[in-house]
């Protein structure tokens, strides 16, 4: 088992608004902030809390597809736009589809472990509303295997991949109960997002969320087993957090209580070209989470809160089983019993998750870490939950593609 050769912390998290349909400010035909503005806002938000750019040794930025959404590559070179003090420092851009943010976190963690940095400014960003959803689907399909899958794939490539998974899951474990659990998952996500002002669904005023989410899927215009409420939306946004060593904490004047300590982590890679054989389970997620929990020396029963990768409601349900919170096929019961709600035994996605807060793909992994940091250090606003003292651990699970690239991280408030 891997051991941490030195302590690694995260602190000073910052989320921009997750912008897109649902936000009052959003209008598809009006000018909006771009990559530069989001990177700058998130980066400066974190720098402000750590005493400025001079405290930073290196920068890491996670992003999935700016080359297509924004015609922009070489994103590491946008890090110095956050602050002149970052110019001439080491900066890296990483990409792993929707797990790009998680990979950025791991890069920061590894830099601190390697002692090449005491303070790593870690950012995730994606600006996707530059194209209509029908073309965005093409771009996001890049998280699949283009040569082997795109031609035969659906117009809405990823919704269809998870719709197929939902179909298999329905077949194996029953549709009706699962369908109701998906609707509950949606309701929990929106109710959490309504408490968090930066969430894309913060302004959501729909009355009967579960009834909406029970809408029958329409395969003629979308996919067979999922409706629009089962899917995370198209989002623009960024998040940033500082990854620091103990001496880094001193440098930035931050107490350990104001930080979360990284106790375990895993990055697991599946083969993009190998088809999924057991579509009812998230095998790579399972492997990553088990490794991270093992490294932290805890079990899923010790988790006080989880940020799961619910790009689709069905992924949320399946992740419960992958994490080991319930047995295969029991995810729907676990959700319907209220365990994942904010008052439940293991509150999930307390600021809304991908469905409720939003899914600016490359930013998502970092946003998850920021939310965990906010909850475990008592810095969350109205979306704050009570963390049981016997279960003080947080877990984030960030998935790229169809369960292909996984990052799982276990956290606890600094002691």
């Amino acid at each position: 088992m891997k051991k941490m050769r030195r302590k690694v912390f995260m602190t000073a998290g910052y989320n921009t608004i997750s912008m897109g349909t649902g936000r009052k400010e959003f209008h598809p035909k009006k000018a909006r902030p771009g990559l530069e503005e989001y990177i700058k806002e998130a980066g400066q938000g974190t720098l402000k809390m750590i005493g400025g750019a001079q405290a930073v040794d290196e920068g890491v930025i996670g992003n999935f597809m700016a080359a297509r959404f924004n015609h922009q590559g070489n994103l590491a070179a946008l890090i110095p736009t956050i602050d002149e003090g970052l110019r001439w420092k080491s900066c890296t851009r990483v990409e792993g589809a929707c797990a790009s943010g998680g990979l950025a976190l791991l890069n920061g963690i590894k830099s601190v472990l390697a002692e090449t940095a005491e303070v790593a400014l870690t950012i995730g960003v994606e600006v996707q509303n530059t194209v209509k959803a029908v073309y965005g689907a093409d771009i996001l399909a890049g998280a699949g295997w283009y040569r082997g899958e795109r031609k035969t794939g659906h117009a809405f490539f990823f919704p269809a991949k998870f719709s197929d998974r939902a179909g298999v899951y329905f077949e194996k474990f029953g549709r009706e109960r699962t369908r109701r659990a998906l609707a509950r998952w949606y309701r929990n996500a929106i109710e959490n997002a309504r408490l968090c002002p930066s969430a894309q669904e913060y302004h959501n005023k729909s009355l009967d969320l579960e009834a909406l989410a029970m809408s029958e899927p329409n395969p003629r215009s979308f996919v067979e087993h999922l409706n629009f409420y089962d899917c995370s939306k198209v989002s623009d946004g960024a998040a940033a957090i500082a990854i620091v060593s103990e001496s880094g904490l001193k440098r930035i004047g931050c107490s350990t209580k104001e930080a979360v300590e990284v106790l375990g982590w895993a990055q697991v890679q599946a083969d993009l070209t190998v088809p999924i054989t057991e579509a009812f389970r998230l095998e790579t997620t399972e492997r990553a989470v088990q490794q991270a929990l093992k490294m932290a020396g805890i079990t899923s029963a010790d988790l006080g809160t989880v940020e799961g990768h619910d790009c689709f409601t069905i992924a949320g349900i399946m992740s419960l089983e992958a994490i080991g919170l319930c047995k295969p096929g029991e995810g729907p019961d676990f959700v319907l019993a209220g365990n994942t709600s904010r008052q439940g035994s293991t509150p999930f996605n307390t600021s809304g998750g991908l469905i409720g807060w939003g899914h600016p793909t490359g930013a998502t992994g970092v946003h998850q870490a920021v939310t965990i940091w906010e909850q475990l250090t008592g810095k969350a606003g109205d979306w704050k939950i009570d963390i049981a003292s016997k279960r003080p651990y947080g877990l984030s699970v960030n998935m790229g593609g169809n369960d292909k690239t996984l990052v799982a991280i276990v956290y606890r408030q600094g002691q």
Binding site: A141, R150, A155, F156
Partner: protein, 449 residues
């Protein structure tokens, strides 16, 4: 000749106009879908987009491009299946681009009427002038050896007259799209007594494939849609005159327009609708209808006066509104034309005064857009008009009288034999004019009690 064979070579006359361009779009889409069926792939499909104006045709192609793209984006799930054998088309964007090219490849813009001589199907959407239509249809019929079918988009001219005067032998049908054809669900179907039954069968299939709602109207000038609209408009102009005893012309126009929109829960006021259609088009329709209804005065001196002063309404090629009764800023009325002063008077200067004169709307009021989306729309309408009924404000009185007159016109269309059923009248007004309720209703008859 099968449905598909009939649509292999089609001409649209007046293809650059707002109605013609919509008909080109819908028909080209249908032809493209047919051409992509395995059994039809070897056969060319041709749509001659004919117009006398090069400028109008120059505007047609960009319009088609934009509209086809929207259609392709909306139907991408189906189109991926259609192009599944094309290994070079992988992403949605590849498929959409190819579909646009395939539809446009069917369309041949031309100013030469001779292009219609080989067609088996002719749609006409040219000027509402019986002499011009007769001449053009007759010329094509004489030179075309295929005994083509003629679908006329006339909104007013009796089909039997076109048939007789152009010598078409019953190969003509009224197929009246609403503006804009790409959006409006309604088509009025008008068959003359001589119309051959095969045309009706074809029209049924064609309308179904285009996902249009077809409502039959009898072959009387103006049919149902304009039969109601024109009389509704003439009533509104008579109300202007009446109101001018205590209000200026501009104030009267504002108040009647507001009553016909807000108080009656319609999508736009009557004078705004006239601007949308075009004052000159309204004048033409009235001219066409007038001789057929000798007992009625279907003439508007006000329209004549405004048109003589160059006030015409209608739309720019991009769909934005030209000035008419109203001046428009960002497609919203900002001023009202005054024929005496020969200029526009700002709405801001009279709006609040006029609103005060009209009085408040019923407290349960909701704007038209919200009303049509209501699940319990009928219940809402009942309570709205029940609240309107006892009100004695100027606005309520004008609205009640207006609603009653609209009902009277609807019933007149029935008694004159223009419409076959009450439901047909209401269907035309609700689907073609997007009214929240049909004119033949009990909301105002109850009021009158």
């Amino acid at each position: 000749m099968t449905y598909t064979e009939r649509l292999r070579n089609v001409s649209v006359l007046g293809a650059g106009g707002k109605m013609g361009s919509g008909i080109v779009l819908l028909t080209a889409l249908e032809m493209c879908d047919l051409s992509q069926k395995a059994e039809n792939r070897a056969q060319p499909f041709v749509l001659q987009a004919i117009d006398i104006s090069h400028a109008a045709l120059a505007g047609l192609m960009p319009y088609l491009q934009v509209q086809i793209q929207k259609v392709a984006e909306k139907n991408i799930v189906r189109l991926r299946q259609v192009y599944q054998d094309r290994e070079d088309l992988i992403e949605n964007s590849d498929i959409i681009t190819q579909y646009i090219a395939d539809v446009l490849n069917i369309v041949r813009p031309t100013t030469a009427l001779e292009a219609a001589y080989e067609s088996t199907m002719i749609f006409e959407a040219i000027v509402e002038n019986i002499a011009v239509k007769t001449k053009v249809l007759s010329q094509i019929n004489t030179n075309n050896l295929n005994s083509p079918w003629f679908f006329s988009n006339t909104s007013a001219i009796p089909i039997h007259e076109l048939d007789e005067k152009a010598g078409l032998g019953g190969r003509i049908l009224g197929f009246h799209f609403y503006n804009p054809p790409a959006v409006q669900k309604l088509v009025e179907l008008i068959s003359a007594k001589t119309t051959q039954s095969e045309l009706l069968d074809f029209a049924g299939s064609y309308a179904k494939n285009l996902r249009k709602t077809m409502v039959p109207a009898n072959d009387f000038a103006g049919f149902i849609g304009n039969g109601h609209f024109m009389r509704d408009f003439l009533y509104a102009t008579s109300e202007i005159e009446r109101l001018q005893a205590k209000a200026t012309f501009a104030e009267a126009v504002y108040m009647i327009n507001r009553v016909s929109q807000d108080f009656l829960l319609r999508p736009m006021g009557i004078f705004q609708l006239c601007d949308y259609v075009g004052l000159d088009v309204c004048q033409l329709i009235l001219r066409v209808m007038s001789p057929y209804f000798s007992g009625e005065n279907l003439h508007s001196p006000l329209l004549d006066e405004l048109i003589a002063q160059g006030v015409r309404g209608g739309q720019f090629p991009d769909g934005s509104q030209k000035d008419g009764f109203f001046k428009y800023e960002k497609n919203r009325p900002s001023a009202i034309y005054d024929p005496k002063q020969k200029g526009y008077l700002s709405l801001a200067d009279l709006q609040s005064r006029c609103d005060d004169s009209l009085g408040p709307l019923p407290t349960v009021f909701q704007p038209w857009k919200a009303v049509i989306a209501l699940a319990a729309k009928d219940t809402f309408l009942q309570s709205y008009f029940s609240e309107l009924q006892p009100l004695n404000t100027l606005g309520a009185q004008l609205a009640k009288a207006y609603g009653l007159r609209s009902r009277e016109i609807g019933l007149q269309l029935l008694s004159q034999g223009v419409a076959q059923k009450e439901n047909d009248v209401n269907a035309v007004l609700t689907t073609g004019f997007y009214h929240a309720y049909g004119p033949i209703n009990n909301y105002f008859s109850e009021v009158s009690k």
